[in-house]
């Protein structure tokens, strides 16, 4: 795994916070970007509009992070959840100070009555988004090694469901076979001959949807957990091995 997923982000943040509280000031630098991204998402979802780092609403983030780092202790649960709650409360306070709109009052009331479970899901969704973003960024970098972009995949992905299934199946075969995936990574080409002879994959599909198959293989072999479910083929009868190996 190249970049951390959701749990990995949580673990990393918790460890860095502990180190920071122990006196290691540089520990914060490792996680600061994640915390800012997370803060932006929380504010955006609380305000119901897109928030950029340059926006006025985002100005509270550094202050809240520092405050939370002072007050946080491990018995309060996950640091991200604690930070998220603090940013959300602060955002609502700021909005309350600014204007008193009827719509806003209703919104505040709604947020006040949110149960803890819903709030947890709210913050987890944001953390998921951040982790997914990391994986997408990783995939973009990996694709760049093959001179591919997402724009190319739009034009090069199969439209028909059946063809797409075939392409995804071919990609999964390559990803599961060490020799085939090494061949792809080393030579930058699909192992046409083996796929045709051993796995009876249609040559036309390999040629026409080469870019899509490469992207799918990259998702599998780099274990991009958030994107993998999107490119898994439907298991066929008698092909449970595909499912189990995936």
């Amino acid at each position: 795994m190249i970049d951390p997923g959701k749990n990995a982000i949580n673990d990393l943040v918790d460890k860095c916070v502990q180190r920071f509280q122990a006196g290691e000031e540089h520990a914060l630098d490792e996680i600061y970007d994640y915390l800012v991204q997370f803060g932006l998402r929380v504010i955006a979802k609380t305000c119901g509009k897109y928030i950029d780092s340059g926006d006025e609403e985002a100005a509270i983030i550094p202050d809240v992070i520092l405050n939370v780092l002072d007050k946080y202790s491990s018995d309060r649960g996950s640091f991200m959840m604690y930070l998220g709650q603090a940013i959300k409360n602060r955002t609502i306070d700021e909005l309350r100070k600014k204007k008193r709109k009827p719509g806003l009052v209703l919104f505040r009331k709604e947020t006040e009555y949110l149960t803890k479970a819903i709030e947890t899901a709210f913050f987890e969704d944001i953390i998921d988004d951040i982790a997914r973003k990391q994986e997408i960024k990783t995939l973009a970098q990996l694709l760049a090694q093959f001179d591919l972009t997402f724009g190319m995949l739009v034009d090069g992905s199969p439209r028909q469901a059946r063809t797409r299934e075939e392409a995804q199946r071919a990609a999964l075969i390559i990803a599961q076979d060490q020799a085939l995936s090494s061949y792809l990574m080393d030579k930058g080409m699909l192992p046409h001959k083996i796929l045709e002879e051993q796995y009876h994959v249609n040559r036309n599909i390999l040629d026409r949807y080469r870019k899509y198959i490469i992207a799918t293989v990259l998702i599998h072999i780099n274990d991009l957990g958030y994107l993998k479910p999107y490119v898994l083929p439907q298991p066929r009868r008698g092909e449970k091995w595909l499912e189990s190996k995936a």
Partner: protein, 252 residues
């Protein structure tokens, strides 16, 4: 409404690339700023295009229908019926002006017909009702047209021309029936015009159909050579004469 959903893979100036749950990459347009990694729910570009096309088609259909049923001129046939005519010389509205008109309207469907055909039907019905003798002087059928835009003289002339054609057709039909009833088939009746004399035509700029009874008589009295017996339907007598050129005496 068919919607598309998926993960935002790339976002740039109102355009985004998303990966759908089926693993397909789609390009979408959106006014809402999106963040890479977030879920997107909305209409796909293909669907948006399809909706736009449907909307344009519906609009064209609505406007076309509205325009078709918009009365551009009123045509009056005798004093019994008033016809509302659209820009394509089709009858879109009929209003009876008296009891006779109401009877004709009940018996025939004039809406959607060309003015020419509608006038023909009306006059035919009128003549049937009055049980006129075939060669007797017909009743007067003043025809008039009044466009909504009074400056549109060309349109007015066009309608009046069509109405006159309808009138002539009705009378022609009437005469041919009468001749058959009298034992003269249109074929046998060729002898009626042995020299193939040119038949006088109503002047083109004549605004009202049969105001001039002499002219109508000319039409009524002409031989049935040009009457169709099913073969030369729609033949214009004047045209056939013109195409034939000057007749040689030995032709007949």
């Amino acid at each position: 409404m068919a919607r598309i959903k998926g993960v935002v893979m790339e976002y740039n100036d109102g355009q985004a690339i998303i990966m759908t749950p089926q693993g397909n990459f789609e390009r979408i347009k959106t006014k809402k700023p999106l963040e890479v990694g977030e879920y997107y729910y909305g209409n796909s570009a293909t669907m948006q295009k399809r909706y736009a096309m449907i909307a344009v088609l519906l609009l064209a259909l609505t406007l076309g229908t509205w325009d078709f049923f918009a009365v551009q001129a009123y045509a009056q046939v005798s004093s019994s019926l008033e016809l509302g005519v659209n820009r394509w010389n089709r009858v879109v509205m009929v209003r009876p002006l008296d009891a006779k008109g109401a009877t004709i309207l009940r018996e025939s469907n004039l809406t959607g017909q060309r003015v020419e055909k509608a006038v023909e039907i009306i006059i035919d019905k009128s003549l049937n009702e009055e049980s006129l003798e075939p060669h007797s002087a017909p009743a007067k059928f003043p025809l008039s047209a009044q466009p909504k835009d009074k400056r549109n003289v060309k349109f007015k002339q066009n309608i009046e021309k069509e109405m006159n054609k309808g009138l002539q057709n009705a009378l022609k039909k009437r005469n041919s029936h009468a001749d058959i009833n009298n034992g003269k088939s249109p074929i046998n009746n060729r002898d009626a015009n042995p020299n193939n004399e040119k038949i006088k035509e109503l002047p083109k700029d004549q605004p009202k159909g049969l105001k001039n009874n002499n002219k109508s008589d000319t039409v009524n009295k002409r031989p049935d050579k040009y009457e169709n017996n099913g073969r030369d339907k729609g033949n214009n007598p004047s045209k056939s004469n013109r195409s034939a050129g000057p007749q040689k005496p030995g032709n007949n």
